[in-house]
């Protein structure tokens, strides 16, 4: 009963602010005079353009995932097994891209491989509007997902198991294949599926780097809704993406379930040691070199571009009211963004915390587990659809929020909740249930049990959850771009609009704003790295 009470708020939240708006926009596209036009499904799918988009979305997601695994798995090994100076800091640095707004990632790669970018200046090489820029940006974005998910488990695998196999006569490769790989397999699969999910639904990166030729489903939904105004095609595409994402999440849930099978885990600190021999040092150098080239260089170029005018001119221009792009000086976007993100974080913590508490017990029924997967859906459902859904669904009493500031934090909280749940759940599940029972027997109220038993144990996880929710809220772009009011832009929205304007000054200002956004995200992350626990989910 108590659990049902805990679930009520998260369920209501998702029903009102996710299911209802998405259903409203789909109905708007597919319902004519009260009758559903499911025949449109076949018609839309028969169009060569749509099939082209589906094909591109799928193959680029596969290619991005393969490249990310190829480049990041050695990194996962190095971070798991080697001990070297600056490892802690470096682990934080490689995670910065993951929490960066897609708009910033797009801008950074534009500064690297676009017109007048670094490669263009040095060798006349331009990769923007090619698929290579998109793939590179996707690897940049998801490197940390693989390193953290796979490396986290790898570092806790007992190396003595592999050593035992070798003593018994197995070759080094055979020992790795027979002992380590099977243990690691589910983690690799889970990481690969997350990368696939993120790249399959990629929006900001493709929008900025893809030009008119390349479009993922998400970008095509945006174009069909916002530019071509073919709502029925957009609705069909939304449903296709919904089904695809549902399938990916189902497989992911299955691998997570399998991963929970007992493994002999040891403390990560005892498995790592200094690299030995030329081979290991070369591997370490190669991984660090790749990380520097792929992860640090684009960010460095971004910062350099933002300073590419005498006397911080681009930063100064941000504070001027003369801008013809906005009604307010662009710097105000910083304040707006911080306020929105804080409100969104509070909402996400509340909703996600309650959901995680409800999902905690291992005897949770199938219904509850289904809810677990449901909470992940906002990560994969077109943010564009959510944004437009908000516009048309939440504009009449009793929920007339159209001109209310709360709309933006609500949309941002939707993507924050999955991170909160994913972070909190493993920790909450690790709390010994007998502690709670003991407290209850001694006469503590449920609230007091939570406050005195659960809260002290999950405090660190709660902070980390707050940090991730804050970072993704700050960077949310797809939905915010529709519902942010023109006189209250958020940082990513301001960056995108400045990028779309001509002239050096606007370009420089977008680089400067991106740099500010990157610094805010990086600082939040570095603070988190200091409170990091060992069992904090997969992000």
């Amino acid at each position: 009963m108590a659990r049902l009470g805990l679930m009520a708020l998260p369920v209501a939240f998702f029903a009102v602010f996710f299911a209802y708006p998405v259903a409203a926009i789909v109905a708007r596209g597919l319902k004519v005079d009260g009758a559903w036009q499911f025949g449109r499904l076949g018609e839309v799918l028969a169009q060569p353009d749509v099939r082209h988009v589906l094909w591109f979305t799928t193959w680029q997601a596969f290619a991005s995932t393969a490249f990310t695994l190829l480049i990041a798995l050695p990194g996962a090994y190095v971070f798991a097994r080697f001990d070297f100076r600056g490892k802690q800091l470096l682990r934080a640095v490689i995670t910065v891209p993951f929490v960066l707004p897609t708009v910033v990632v797009g801008t950074a790669f534009l500064a690297l491989v676009g017109r007048g970018g670094l490669l263009d200046e040095l060798w006349g090489v331009r990769l923007d509007t090619t698929v290579w820029a998109i793939l590179l940006a996707h690897v940049f974005f998801n490197y940390a997902v693989v390193v953290r998910t796979v490396g986290g488990l790898w570092s806790q695998l007992d190396p003595r198991q592999e050593e035992a196999a070798r003593v018994l006569g197995a070759s080094r490769f055979a020992a790795w294949r027979k002992v380590t790989l099977p243990a690691l397999g589910p983690a690799v699969a889970a990481a690969a599926l997350m990368v696939f999910l993120f790249t399959f639904t990629s929006f900001g990166v493709v929008q900025i780097l893809g030009g008119p030729t390349f479009a993922t489903l998400e970008v095509e939904i945006y174009r069909q809704t916002s530019e071509i105004f073919d709502l029925s095609t957009a609705a069909v595409l939304t449903m296709i993406q919904f089904v695809a994402v549902g399938a990916i999440l189902a497989v992911h849930a299955w691998t997570v379930h399998r991963r929970e099978t007992a493994l002999r885990l040891v403390d990560a600190s005892v498995t790592a040691r200094r690299p030995r021999g030329a081979g290991q040092w070369t591997l370490l150098a190669a991984v660090l070199g790749t990380a520097a080239l792929l992860l640090v260089l684009p960010l460095a170029v971004l910062v350099q571009r933002s300073l590419d005018a005498p006397g911080f001119a681009y930063y100064k221009a941000l504070t001027s009211g003369e801008s013809d792009v906005f009604l307010v000086p662009p710097i105000e976007a910083v304040g707006n963004s911080l306020q929105y993100a804080l409100a969104a974080t509070a909402l996400a913590l509340l909703i996600g915390g309650l959901a995680a508490a409800a999902l905690t017990r291992r005897d949770a029924g199938r219904l509850v587990r289904g809810f677990d997967a449901l909470l992940m859906l906002p990560l994969g459902v077109s943010a564009v659809t959510v944004g437009f859904g908000f516009l048309i669904a939440l504009d009449e009493p009793p929920l007339n929020l159209r001109s209310s500031w709360i709309l933006v934090p609500l949309a941002q909280a939707l993507v924050g909740v999955p991170f909160v749940v994913r972070t909190m759940l493993p920790v909450l599940r690790a709390v010994d249930v007998r502690l709670r029972e003991a407290a209850a027997v001694l006469g503590a109220s449920p609230w007091r049990v939570w406050r005195e038993v659960d809260l002290p144990m999950v405090r660190r996880a709660l902070l980390i959850a707050a940090g991730f929710a804050f970072a993704v809220s700050l960077g949310e772009f797809g939905a915010t771009v529709f519902i942010a009011r023109a006189d209250n832009p958020t940082l990513p929205v301001a960056v995108a609009r400045l990028l779309g304007r001509p002239g050096e000054l606007n370009y420089g200002q977008s680089m400067a704003l991106s740099t500010i956004l990157m610094v805010v995200c990086a600082v939040a992350l570095l603070l988190l790295e200091r409170v990091r626990t060992d069992r904090t989910g997969e992000f």
Binding site: G116, R223, L327, N400, R459
Partner: protein, 361 residues
């Protein structure tokens, strides 16, 4: 430790407050109180007007003007349609003849006949039965050329649609995506008007074979890819032909410092399509009275004379004074392609779709 506790408590508390705030369904920050005093104009990103002209209107009418620039022309229109039950403003300015039918089909506007609208040229005053829209300005979408490039290469600039597919102009033209950009769509409609429903596909096949480049928006095409504009020169653009406006050359002069004697770019007058911009009173406008006053103002002599140098369009009113530097460097086209609004309405979406397959995929 205790600060962490406080933080968590504060965060949860804040969450509760915000949640309760949102369920109590306020309709926004005190909109009701200022309703009759503020009038809101929804427009596209290219909107610009002299501050003094707006201030005069505010003083005379007693209304305060708020302008909401909501993306490019197509995006602003689409968002207005999606939010028409509870609109963001009172008046929409900037829907053009290429997209007008979409506004009508979705009942975006309510009837209003602007004061002085009988002074406007009759050929632009369409929808006379329902009177939902008022024409405000027009412009010509035409290919512009970089004069310096053609002089250096001893080449005659193209003059017509037919010229553009000739081998001597191979790989020179950049245009915009017809599905995302209004000059891009205008240029496509121009070719459809010229070559007909059957002929335009052949024409674009030839144009594609002749190396036309397509980018997403006008900003990128004109200020990055085109070699003749100030922005394009800086960005090392290498396309000497671009789809832009007949009024782009005067803009090159007006914004240059020092001002040159002649414009650095010219217009291929045989490639023009006429674009007309309208304004309308939104169906559920909260301040309909203020909206009506605003539309009257948009065709007032003062605002009309202010338009050319701000938005680089030609005013609808024939008695509005056009600045000399504007007419000197960029006269409107004398011969241009037009298309009846009902023909555009009937074919637009299909043409754009097949253009996308033909040219982009």
């Amino acid at each position: 430790m205790s600060t962490t506790k406080k933080f968590v408590a504060a965060a949860v508390g804040l969450g509760l407050v915000t949640l309760s705030a949102c369920t109590s369904s306020d309709s926004g920050d005190g909109e009701g109180a200022s309703e009759s005093k503020t009038v809101t104009l929804v427009s596209h990103d290219s909107w610009a007007a002299s501050k003094s002209v707006i201030r005069d209107f505010e003083k005379q009418s007693g209304y305060q003007v708020k302008v909401l620039k909501d993306g490019d022309a197509g995006q602003a229109l689409n968002k207005a349609i999606l939010t028409k039950d509870n609109p963001q403003g009172d008046v929409l300015f900037g829907v053009d003849n290429t997209l007008l039918s979409r506004a009508f089909d979705n009942d975006l506007f309510q009837a209003y006949e602007a004061k002085d609208s009988d002074l406007l040229p009759p050929e632009y005053r369409i929808d006379q039965q329902k009177k939902r829209i008022t024409p405000i300005d027009f412009g010509d979408i035409c290919v512009n050329y970089d004069k310096a490039y053609f002089e250096e290469n001893d080449l005659t600039p193209p003059e017509s649609f037919d010229d553009l597919v000739k081998p001597e102009y191979k790989d020179l033209l950049v245009t915009e995506n017809a599905s995302t950009s209004s000059p891009g769509l205008g240029f496509l409609l121009g070719t459809a008007a010229k070559y007909g429903n059957d002929g335009w596909r052949d024409y674009w096949t030839k144009l594609k074979a002749n190396g036309v480049k397509v980018v997403d928006g006008w900003e990128q095409a004109y200020n990055e890819e085109f070699s003749g504009s100030a922005g394009g020169k800086k960005a090392k653009g290498d396309r000497p032909l671009v789809v832009s406006y007949a009024s782009s050359p005067p803009a090159e002069v007006v914004f240059a410092d020092p001002k040159p004697d002649t414009a650095p770019t010219g217009v291929a007058y045989g490639t023009c399509f006429r674009q007309i911009e309208y304004a309308g009173l939104l169906s559920n406008a909260k301040n309909a009275k203020g909206g009506q006053a605003l539309i009257d103002f948009l065709i007032s002599k003062k605002f009309q004379a202010d338009m050319p140098l701000n938005m680089f369009v030609y005013p609808m009113r024939e008695d509005a004074q056009i600045p000399e530097e504007f007419t000197k460097y960029g006269a409107p086209a004398e011969d241009y392609e037009v298309m009846a609004p009902e023909d555009i309405a009937k074919n637009r979406d299909q043409w754009v779709k097949s253009w996308t397959s033909l040219v982009l995929k």
